[in-house]
Symmetry: C2
């Protein structure tokens, strides 16, 4: 598949009685990143810029959530949802992604990418 239209996806909410995953065919990644703690502010800024730009310009980049361990904020986890593998492969060739990779190359101490399947998700309508 390519990706669903916004209308299709909008029906995925808590009010949908026929709840099911609308992300069944997506390509999903959990990225575990350890950042040089002295460069955390710069890393987070670069990460946010990458996420915003990708979602704005690539319809196949569906969703990002980036979180940091409260006790060890240099330990970062990113949930990445792409419409499909092709969308991910395209994403990593884009100028904004390459810019991000170059910017953070000397900030990232460890990077692990794990391919994951979406078991399910749920969220408040409108979120």
């Amino acid at each position: 598949m390519l990706y669903k239209t916004n209308n299709d996806l909008h029906s995925f909410s808590a009010s949908d009685n026929n709840y099911k995953s609308y992300y069944e065919c997506t390509a999903n990644i959990i990225a575990q990143i350890e950042v040089d703690s002295t460069q955390l502010k710069e890393y987070n800024a670069a990460l946010k810029e990458q996420m915003q730009t990708a979602v704005r310009w690539e319809p196949g980049v569906l969703t990002y959530y980036a979180v940091a361990d409260k006790k060890l904020p240099s330990r970062i986890t990113i949930l990445e949802i792409y419409a499909d593998s092709a969308a991910y492969q395209k994403h990593i060739t884009t100028p904004h992604f390459k810019k991000y990779k170059t910017t953070v190359a000397h900030m990232v101490k460890k990077l692990e990418l794990v391919e994951v399947d979406l078991i399910g998700s749920a969220k408040q309508p409108g979120l």
Copy 2:
């Protein structure tokens, strides 16, 4: 804070030029769970039921994403976003959460909960 209205949250999208996190005050958890692989189907069903029920009945339960390692599907990661700490504390006293905990007690081999801060998120409008 309590939680924002749906209208406030709806503006959080790729088309929002003044991008920022609307989740700044939320309580966020990453749960790392290892499930008995012989009971994975039952576990995933119980998890999905818990997620749906919580989001439907608790306005302070904002968002869940549950994913499984493609190679080791008994390794599950859940991103949980609550409106605030009070919403989380209330959540774990609800009948549906208690039912889930009882149902999966003999299925879960390992559970780690990590409190996290949201660095940022981005998603396609309507998702």
